[in-house]
């Protein structure tokens, strides 16, 4: 039985119940790979790409922050921000990345630094998602 992947943000559903053979997630402490039959799991998400394969095709969504819940082969991602591959604005992501990297050099507080880092990483993730191959 394949996995069912759902990716939602407070504003909209990005991926709605797509069947998938495997899903990889950017966990906060490192990448998480989910295959069918995975034990129930709740994990914090970092910044990166949620990628899945289904029928020889790959899908990817850039996410920033949030949670993932895995139970009974249903993978539910609650992301703070999520941009699917088709919706990535490459030019805007490049601009944001440059801006965040520039900000990183000037900020003082550690919180601001984390924020700038996360923003740069999210821009990176969007670029990577846009560039990800569609074939598995």
């Amino acid at each position: 039985m394949p996995l069912t992947l759902t990716v939602v943000t407070p504003e909209r559903s990005v991926v709605e119940g797509v069947p998938a053979e495997s899903v990889t997630l950017p966990g906060e402490g490192g990448e998480l790979g989910i295959l069918p039959g995975h034990a129930a799991l709740v994990a914090l998400l970092g910044v990166g790409i949620v990628a899945w394969t289904s029928g020889g095709r790959r899908g990817s969504v850039a996410v920033r922050g949030g949670f993932v819940q895995v139970a009974d082969d249903a993978v539910r991602v609650l992301a703070d921000h999520a941009v699917p591959r088709d919706a990535v604005d490459v030019a805007a992501a490049r601009v944001e990345k440059a801006a965040a990297e520039a900000r990183r050099l000037t900020v003082s507080g550690s919180e601001e630094l984390d924020d700038a880092n996360a923003e740069a990483a999210f821009a990176d993730a969007r670029l990577a998602a846009a560039a990800a191959p569609e074939k598995a």
């Binding site: 759902t6 407070p10 906060e28 129930a40 949670f67 819940q69 139970a71 609650l78």
Partner: protein
Amino acid sequence: MANLIDIRRRIRSVKSTQQITKAMKMVAASKLRRSQERVLAARPYARTLEATLAAVLTRVAPREDGTPLHPLLETRPAKRALVVAVSGDKGLCGALNTNANRATGQLLRDLTARKLAVSLVVLGRKGVDFWKRRSVPIVDARPGIFQRFDYQTAARIAREIGTRFTSGDFDEVWVVYNEFRSVLSQVVEQRRLLPLALPAAAADAGDALYEPSAEAILSRLLPRNLEFQLFRVLLEANAAFYASQMTAMEGASKNAAELIDSLTLTYNRARQAKITKELIEIVSGAEALE
């Protein structure tokens, strides 16, 4: 009989009013559709958030010293309360804003009766206009918030409120807003935001893995939950506003149509009476000549 020209002028003026109310109804209808879509789009997240929270709660053991698991859950003897009053940005929407303001006033009185000092956070221009002339201290006022708001807007306000709560500025936080039940029914809702009420722990969450730990996840989930609740309040209030405005403008258009009908009737009657009078004058003039 009223002057014919006067009546004609009135008909014309009512007609142009009707055109405006009709146009406003159409605009409200299209904005209502968009805001309804946003309400619906937030539902999957709500469901998943609730399920995750319920699952995590089964795994987090209560602390042995009885302190709450998270500052946002802390119940203190209540001395100061904060009320988040949500109203529309604009009028021409029936009794919606009045209802919200009245319910807020009632809640403030209830809280004062419990010997609590009250303050306000006011979201929406109509509420701001109403409350700034009164004696209740306003902590934060956001007129025009509904012009453009997204999750981040709600999250920032929620975080601010959360900080005020955890730092002990306020012991209870309430929210009053119009909930969108249907296009025809918007109901004023009030409920307590903080301390957070937890959903019942899921009965059979089984043995799930928690990465990094159930406590760490809970401490992230709870602030997110607060942010999301406020976001939903804004979405509901937004949809309720457009629904109410659409209904109000539809009523206004209908009233204008009725007024036009009755004015047209009066106009025609007056016109007929005038013709009859002229005929009588001609006939009696001719008879006088015979």
